[in-house]
């Protein structure tokens, strides 16, 4: 029977077609974000009239069609969304745009949120957050991370720009999966990826796992207090330098043995500072929590589940 599939000989036909409905259901309004891998547009869903965020991603096409990784990630994103976790941005739809010989444009349609955390922090640069607001936000960020980790997903790029905030101040994590696994070639724009929230093992190009996200959360919680980035390096070495100024330089024995391009003796820390001086108004518990997330050795770092049980989240806030 299978020769029926091909029963008429016809010449080789084009490998691109617009057989299916595309992103016409949405009316693009303006660009709200340009990341390294995607453009994000604010758009209106023509059927429901609701605002959505359209994230445009480029999917490379191979001779075998849509790559396996992409398929698995799409399936995973859809699967995650079934849980409707309160601290994860809702994925409303997926549609595709143009299909070319070697690439396919896809649109991920997310619920639209008013702010991302970096905008939210800027807005607040005049007035500090209340202690209880910070605790609430920290907790929601950790809840989102815990959810991802319990589904074996590493965010890999947690930073204020990838954390969305509703008008009521609720937190939702965004920008995990899909675009993240692609290599440099798949970037849509030339935006430089920030190093500020990167864990040491990432900066040193070692293998990494869920602890990298915990590191980022540690940096972000500190930033909620001080309203400025904890470690704002401009190169891998500079970033590590700033980290070691606060944490102290790791011992030679702790320095990874793997093939290293960055050498142990390239760091000389002369002006060590204490986290308490960089981040004022920190309670003892707050200090301990952040320090438990900022360990050089990823194996010694706190995990999301345990961090959520930290006394910090149950103690009576001191100054609110």
């Amino acid at each position: 029977m299978l020769n029926e599939i091909t029963h008429t000989k016809s010449r080789h036909f084009a490998y691109r077609m617009e057989l299916v409905k595309n992103s016409n259901n949405y009316e693009e309004m303006h660009i709200i974000g340009t990341g390294a891998y995607g453009m994000v547009y604010k758009a209106r869903d023509k059927t429901s009239n609701k605002m959505v965020a359209l994230k445009k991603v480029k999917v490379p096409l191979t001779d075998d069609g849509i790559p396996l990784n992409t398929l698995r990630e799409i399936a995973l994103l859809k699967q995650l969304d079934v849980h409707e976790h309160p601290n994860i941005v809702r994925l409303l739809d997926i549609c595709h745009g143009q299909r070319l010989e070697k690439e396919l444009i896809m649109f991920l349609v997310f619920e639209h949120l008013e702010y991302d955390l970096s905008m939210y922090l800027e807005k607040r640069s005049m007035r500090n957050f209340l202690e209880k607001e910070i605790r609430q936000m920290s907790k929601e960020i950790l809840c989102g991370v815990e959810f991802l980790h319990s589904h074996r997903i590493i965010h890999r790029d947690l930073k204020p720009q990838n954390i969305l905030v509703t008008t009521e101040g609720r937190i939702k994590l965004a920008d995990f999966g899909l675009a993240k696994t692609y290599d440099f070639d798949m970037r849509l724009t030339k935006v430089v990826v920030t190093l500020w929230y990167r864990a040491p093992e990432v900066l040193l190009e070692l293998s990494y796992a869920t602890p990298v996200d915990i590191w980022s959360v540690g940096c972000i919680i500190a930033e909620l207090y001080s309203l400025k980035p904890l470690f704002s390096g401009n190169s891998e070495v500079d970033q590590l330098n700033r980290i070691f100024r606060v944490l102290g330089k790791p011992l030679q024995s702790e320095w990874p043995k793997e093939n290293m391009s960055i050498r142990y003796d390239s760091f000389e820390i002369l002006d060590k500072v204490d986290l308490k001086d960089v981040v004022p108004n920190l309670s003892e518990n707050g200090y301990n929590l952040i320090m438990s997330m900022l360990t050089f050795d990823p194996m010694k770092r706190n995990c999301a589940f345990k961090a959520l049980q930290h006394d910090y989240f149950t103690e009576e806030p001191l100054n609110c």
Binding site: L2, S10, V82
Partner: protein, 325 residues
Amino acid sequence: MFPTSTQCKYWMFSSEEELNQLREKTNTKHIQAYGKNVPEANRYDYFLTPVEESLMAKRYELFLRDFCKGFSPPMPRNVTGTAFHYFKRFYVNNSVMNYHPKEIMVTCVYLACKVEEFNVSIGQFVSNIKGDREKASDIILNNELLLMEQLNYHLAIHNPFRPVEGLIIDIKTRCQSLNDPERLRPGIDQLLDKVFLTDAILLYSPSQMALAAILHAASKLQENLDSYVTDTLFGVDGRGKLEELIEAVRGIRSMVKMADVNPDKNQMKLIEKKLEKCRNPDNNPDSEIYKKRMQALLDDEDEVYNQIMNSNTELDNSTLNMQAL
């Protein structure tokens, strides 16, 4: 895991009636879109009836099964299972008159290979197909996206094979009355082979199908697992659920019995012929419209392309491809 899956949330239907109603709606919608000028009374002279559509789908389910069975290299059965799910889901909301099942069928298998990480290249894949392989691979790659979209990108499938293994291990440890549970295998496989040819996979959970398979196998060996199910598996707390499960097992087994009825060969030939005439030429790689469009795309002649697309819309709105009437 299953209760929080996309399968459970979006692709479990309440009854066969509901499914049939959805399919009838799909049929009606297609005819309304493409047969505006056909008098109501004559529409089925030209278009397939919902029953004929179902028969066609069933026919290609059998082909799907055989294709997977004969596949080289040998295909793990979860690939086959996943392909069946895709195929059935696709035709809940799409008419076979719009997308021919022979094309969707192979695309389902191809996508299932990827999602289940059974690594075969497109070249290897189409070497299992007779005829023009280049054309077949174009059809598959062109349909891949359509299929994903129609599945709403719900690509992760829960098959009954793992729950079966779980149950067998459980029987080995907790049901001493049955000696050598491995003897159940042939009976289990027999039921699972058939269950994919029925609507059961859109109505019941993988573990319900697994249990149905085990009980079917046991009864074939004239073994009785009733007390294992009621006392061991469910215990005192599970009594409420037991009722539901027994009902499910009964439903699955009766659907599987029906799966044995094969459609009449001559009747099937007639329906195939009817479909060849009424299938949507827009999506038929052998139609003139389709070839012209492809040519236009290849030549990058946007104007020609638009012209064809526009005249197409007109055709859709009048009576498309009605020369048969």
